[in-house]
C-alpha cells in the first residue's frame, strides 16, 4: 500500500497526521511543500490542488484515494487501522 503525504513543515495537522501514521507503523513518503523551491514547489502545489481542489494541508494519497486534512476516520478506513 502506497501512502504519500503532502505537508507543510509548519502545519499542526500535518504533524498530527504524520505522528498518527508513525504510531501505526504505516510507511509513507512525505513532501514538505513549503521547504521546496522553484519548479519543484510549483509542481507540488499544482499536484495538491489537483488532488484536493485547494491548498490546505495535509493532503494524503492512499492507493489513489485522497484524504484532505487530518481525517482520522477516513485514514482508519483507507489504511485498515
Amino acid at each position: 500500500m502506497a501512502t504519500k503525504v503532502y505537508a507543510l513543515s509548519t502545519c499542526p495537522y500535518c504533524k498530527m497526521a504524520r505522528k498518527y501514521l508513525e504510531e501505526n507503523d504505516v510507511p509513507f513518503d512525505v513532501v514538505e511543500v513549503d521547504l521546496l523551491t522553484g519548479t519543484e514547489r510549483e509542481e507540488a502545489v499544482a499536484q495538491v490542488k489537483r488532488l484536493s481542489g485547494g491548498t490546505s494541508f495535509p493532503v494524503m494519497e492512499v492507493d489513489g484515494e485522497v484524504i484532505v486534512g487530518f481525517n482520522k476516520p477516513k485514514m482508519q478506513k483507507l489504511l485498515h487501522l
Binding site: 509548519t10 502545519c11 499542526p12 504533524k15 495538491v48 491548498t55 490546505s56 486534512g69
Partner: protein, 211 residues
C-alpha cells in the same frame, strides 16, 4: 514593512490576536496544547515569510489572495466559521464553545443553515430597523427593547422593503401602504401575506442571522 518585530513570541501573538478575535465573537481554542502547537507553527512562518500566514496553507504569491491567509483570517470566512464554530485550523473557536478540542480535525465545507454576521449590536437603536444584505439576499433587521428580529425584506402587498418601514412597538409598518407585521412572528392581518422570520443571535456585540 513587518508588522511584528524580530523575536516575536507565541505570547506576543496571543496578546495581539486575543482582543481582535474577541470583537468578532471568537476566542482561543480551549485546548491549550493545540494552541501552543499552532502558534509555534505561526512563529516559524513569521520568521521565514515576514508575517503570520496560516501554517496549514500555502501562499499563492498573489498579495491580495495571500492576505486571506494571514492569521486571524476570520473576517474573510465569517459565514463558514460561524457554522463550523471555529476557524479553519481551530486556533480560534466561537466564544460559546466550551470544549474546543472536540472540534479538531476535518476541514469541511459547512452544510445546512449558517450564522451570518449582519450588524454590530450598536448599529441599531431600539425602535430602529434597516435593510441588511446576506449575500445577494436582502433582509429586514429590527431592534425592539434590546432584542433583534429579522424578517424577509419584502412586504406581501407590493414587495416594498420592510426594513425601511416604521416601528411601533413590536410591529413594523410598511413604508409604502402601511401594512403591519409583527416582527416577532412575521404575521400580518392580511390573509396569506405573512413574511418569513429568521433566527437572530447576538454574540460579543455582533448580530448574526441564521439563513
Amino acid at each position: 514593512m513587518r508588522r511584528f518585530a524580530p523575536g516575536t513570541t507565541s505570547d506576543d501573538l496571543k496578546a495581539y490576536m486575543g482582543p481582535f478575535v474577541a470583537r468578532l465573537g471568537y476566542k482561543f481554542n480551549t485546548d491549550e496544547d493545540f494552541v501552543a502547537m499552532v502558534l509555534e507553527g505561526e512563529i516559524e512562518v513569521l520568521d521565514r515569510d515576514g508575517d503570520v500566514y496560516c501554517p496549514c496553507r500555502v501562499r499563492t504569491g498573489d498579495p491580495k489572495e495571500d492576505l486571506k491567509i494571514i492569521c486571524p483570517c476570520i473576517p474573510f470566512y465569517t459565514d463558514q466559521f460561524s457554522a463550523m464554530r471555529k476557524c479553519w485550523c481551530g486556533l480560534f473557536v466561537r466564544t460559546d464553545v466550551e470544549d474546543g478540542s472536540a472540534l479538531h480535525g476535518v476541514i469541511e465545507a459547512p452544510t445546512g443553515p449558517v450564522d451570518v454576521r449582519i450588524a454590530a449590536s450598536g448599529d441599531l437603536a431600539d425602535g430602529q430597523g434597516r435593510v441588511v444584505a446576506v449575500g445577494k439576499r436582502k433582509l429586514a433587521l429590527f431592534r425592539v427593547d434590546g432584542e433583534f428580529f429579522c424578517l424577509e425584506n419584502v412586504c406581501g402587498h407590493l414587495w416594498a422593503p420592510l426594513g425601511e418601514g416604521y416601528l411601533d412597538g413590536y410591529h413594523v409598518m410598511c413604508p409604502w401602504h402601511g401594512w403591519r407585521y409583527d416582527v416577532r412572528t412575521g404575521e400580518t392581518d392580511h390573509p396569506d401575506a405573512d413574511v418569513k422570520t429568521y433566527p437572530v443571535s447576538v454574540r460579543a456585540g455582533e448580530v448574526f442571522v441564521r439563513v
